[in-house]
């Protein structure tokens, strides 16, 4: 291995990848982590930090790995990021911190910051010391709605500042999208549970099966707590609006992934049903589309097909996920737009009708445009279709939080500090931005936490 390249992550066998939900890649061992950490120049003016939405002191924790002081590395990392094992796995580091790494040139790969974060995160989970516990020394009570990345990050920072934090989750399981959305093979659920239990040690109280706006009214919550953070995430799955989306065998990515991830429908004796389709077509090109198609493959769809309107270069998913999908045998079909979903019997899906498309150049927003080619329609047969084109805001927010200001689509309006128009009500994550990355949501949660801490300090 030359020093020009990142130390690779080992992977489980292809057979295991195609047929089980085991995690695809294996965390660095200590030797590899130290070797990778020694590639870091420990720059004084560390540009990588600017690439991180939560501003982790990257050279700080990496230099501790290089000297085998993993406990200190964990301490530094966790000061900035309460969920390092999760972020080390799902952050698009290649677009953020690693992109800014000075090593990053045509010939040299950046330091594998994400892999090192994952190593330290996993180390901290297995070598956890109880000295993290801090008693709540503040008289302020904070309600956090939802338990996804934005909420967890907000809860983490508020709890560390000594505030009493209660997190309200509608589902029976914590983690939001980390739990229902991202598959086991990319983010093991026991790990999500472990990182969340670290928050419990900080004194955060979690309340499951509680839908704010229904189980507890917003008014009651607002009266009982000094500040409220809304981190309810993205909402209703969006459909394309083409004929046939109502057919049996057509799923939103959220439904398909929730059945498999949250409800464990892939296990043999699972109580929640899932149909093991023979030939699935996923419509979309983001990380959720790739999670869906790789899930379909593992459930026996041979082939599992992903169809995207633009070309390979424009796929919004992480390059690592695209590479994994291709290795596993996912068939990626580009430059085709779906125009209808077809059924032989009027009930079940039997195919997708596409029209071919071609690229027409980059517009002023930097977006590659495309146009469809007239009379180029064709049908691809399938027995399952997963629509993975994003989400619209959940109407419960708007209906139950009467005075909360949202944009015309229903996304919550906040200022740069995460404040909404209602006094002491804050928001962040996908409920504000629409579907975005885990780390962007965590960044928003963190910013809101600091605003909450400062706002309440002033009222003291």
């Amino acid at each position: 291995m030359t020093k020009a390249k990142k130390n690779p992550l080992l992977e489980i066998t292809l057979d295991e990848r195609q047929n089980t939900f085991k995690e695809t890649t294996i965390t660095y061992d200590a030797e590899t982590a130290v070797r990778e950490a020694q590639r870091c120049y420990n720059c004084k003016n560390a540009r990588c930090i600017g690439g991180c939405p939560v501003g982790v002191n990257i050279p700080g924790f990496i230099s501790k790995i290089a000297t085998r002081d993993f406990d200190s590395a964990a301490l530094i990392l966790k000061t900035f990021n309460g969920l390092p094992s999760i972020c080390g796995r799902v952050c698009p580091q290649e677009q953020q911190c690693e992109k800014k790494c000075v090593k990053c040139t045509d010939k040299t790969e950046p330091v594998a910051i994400g892999r090192l974060e994952r190593f330290v995160g996993d180390y901290a989970l297995t070598h956890s010391s109880n000295n993290e516990y801090q008693p709540n020394n503040s008289c302020f009570k904070i309600a956090v709605i939802g338990s996804g990345p934005a909420s967890l990050s907000c809860a983490n920072d508020c709890a560390k500042a000594g505030l009493h934090v209660t997190v309200f989750e509608a589902l029976h399981s914590l983690g939001g999208v980390l739990s229902y959305g991202i598959p086991e093979f990319r983010l093991p659920k026991n790990l999500v549970a472990s990182e969340i239990s670290a928050l419990e040690k900080l004194g955060v109280v979690f309340k499951l099966n509680c839908l704010i706006g229904k189980t507890i009214t917003f008014k009651n919550l607002y009266t009982e707590f000094d500040a409220v953070f809304i981190g309810t995430g993205a909402g209703l799955p969006r459909f394309i609006g083409i004929p046939g989306e109502e057919l049996n065998g057509v799923y939103s990515a959220n439904e398909y992934l929730t059945r498999v991830n949250l409800m464990k429908a892939y296990l043999k004796d699972a109580k929640t049903p899932i149909i093991r389709h023979n030939r699935v077509i996923v419509l979309g090109g983001g990380n959720v589309a790739f999670d869906s198609v790789r899930t379909a493959l593992r459930l026996g769809s041979k082939p599992a097909i992903l169809a995207y309107r633009r070309s390979l270069n424009e796929l919004p998913a992480r390059s690592e996920e695209i590479a994994h999908a291709l290795t596993e045998g996912v068939q990626i079909e580009t430059l085709r737009s779906p125009v209808g979903i077809i059924s032989d019997d009027g009930i079940n899906v039997s195919g997708v009708e596409f029209v071919k498309s071609e690229l027409t150049g980059i517009d002023s927003n930097g977006q590659q445009n495309f146009r469809t080619i007239p009379n180029s329609n064709f049908v691809m047969s399938c027995d399952g279709v997963i629509v993975a084109i994003g989400t619209n805001p959940n109407p419960i927010i708007k209906d139950c939080f009467n005075d909360l200001r949202t944009d015309s689509r229903g996304y919550i309006l906040v200022d740069a500090d995460g404040k909404t128009n209602i006094n002491n009500v804050f928001a962040g994550g996908d409920a504000v931005t629409g579907a975005d990355t885990v780390i962007s949501a965590m960044g928003a949660g963190k910013r809101a936490a600091h605003t909450i801490i400062n706002t309440l300090k002033d009222t003291h």
Partner: protein, 274 residues
């Protein structure tokens, strides 16, 4: 964990459970539902809130055994716990704009009709109730309905109790002889559509309650979607009640059968192991 306070067997296949769930009881309203999981590897299944007691903090649900989970639930006894119980979900029945209401229930649909009737009774509004079932054994809450209105109408397919025939027979008779502002119909999809087909001939709106397949019940998964006036809507957050004329019925009926085969196999496995 949620305590089963009491269990009443109403017929061979129908059990009434009173569950301790103070948070849910505090805000529950007629027409809303809950989702429960029996244990840590259970599926999420929606049930209508049939009644609630805010003082005692309890919710009543009716469970009809139709598959593996409802069978397993029906084996639970008072004093035992169920793992998860979330609600109240969905929008509640809105009766404010109606003065004369006809309530129609088919089978287990009584779980929605009963709290609607209770609400109408407490507001001293004029209403009639028609409750139907396949036979006398499956016709439940007859006494309770009798306490809310002087003359509830009952029908059974086999004539073992009340009028022999379908609820639609009585719907037609009543619409011919009386005037109503609205019909609320709750029961199996085919029954609700049949009621709608009768009432629309009389120019009376029918509101139905969709019992779609659901996972989260909070608008996240899109599993319960249906086409309403040509637009995709989600029964869990936009419903469960809709004007019957706005629904694409064939589609809703097809979608209700999505997992029938798998669920039947699962149920058979459970019965054989028992």
């Amino acid at each position: 964990m949620y305590l089963i306070v009491s269990k009443k067997i109403l017929s061979q296949d129908i059990v009434e459970y009173t569950i301790q769930a103070p948070d849910v009881a505090k805000t529950a309203m007629p027409g809303q539902f809950i989702i429960l999981r029996i244990d840590s590897d259970g599926e999420r299944v929606p049930f209508t809130i049939c009644d609630f007691d805010r003082t005692k903090g309890t919710i009543i649900i009716l469970v009809q055994t139709v598959g593996a989970t409802t069978y397993k639930l029906s084996q639970k006894n008072a004093g035992e716990y169920i793992s998860d119980f979330i609600g109240p979900l969905g929008n509640h029945t809105d009766l404010t704009m109606y003065k004369k209401v006809l309530l129609v229930s088919g089978g287990i649909g009584i779980a929605v009709t009963y709290p609607q009737a209770k609400a109408l009774n407490s507001e001293s509004k004029q209403f009639d109730i028609i409750a139907g079932a396949r036979n006398k054994e499956l016709l439940i809450y007859t006494k309770e309905l009798g306490l809310l209105t002087n003359s509830p109408y009952f029908t059974t397919d086999d004539g073992s109790f009340g009028h022999k025939g379908f609820v639609t027979d009585v719907v037609k008779q009543l619409l011919q002889s009386k005037t109503y502002d609205v019909v609320f119909a709750v029961g199996p999809l085919l029954m609700m559509r049949a009621v709608y087909n009768v009432s629309r001939e009389f120019g009376v709106d029918t509101i139905i309650s969709m019992n779609s397949i659901m996972l989260d019940g909070t608008g996240m998964c899109g599993c319960c979607r249906l086409t309403v006036n040509g637009e995709i809507k989600y029964a869990c957050v936009h419903g469960p009640e809709f004007n019957a004329s706005s629904i694409d019925w064939n589609q809703a009926i097809n979608r209700s059968k999505r997992f029938k085969e798998i669920e039947q196999q699962h149920y058979c496995r459970i019965l054989n192991n028992d």
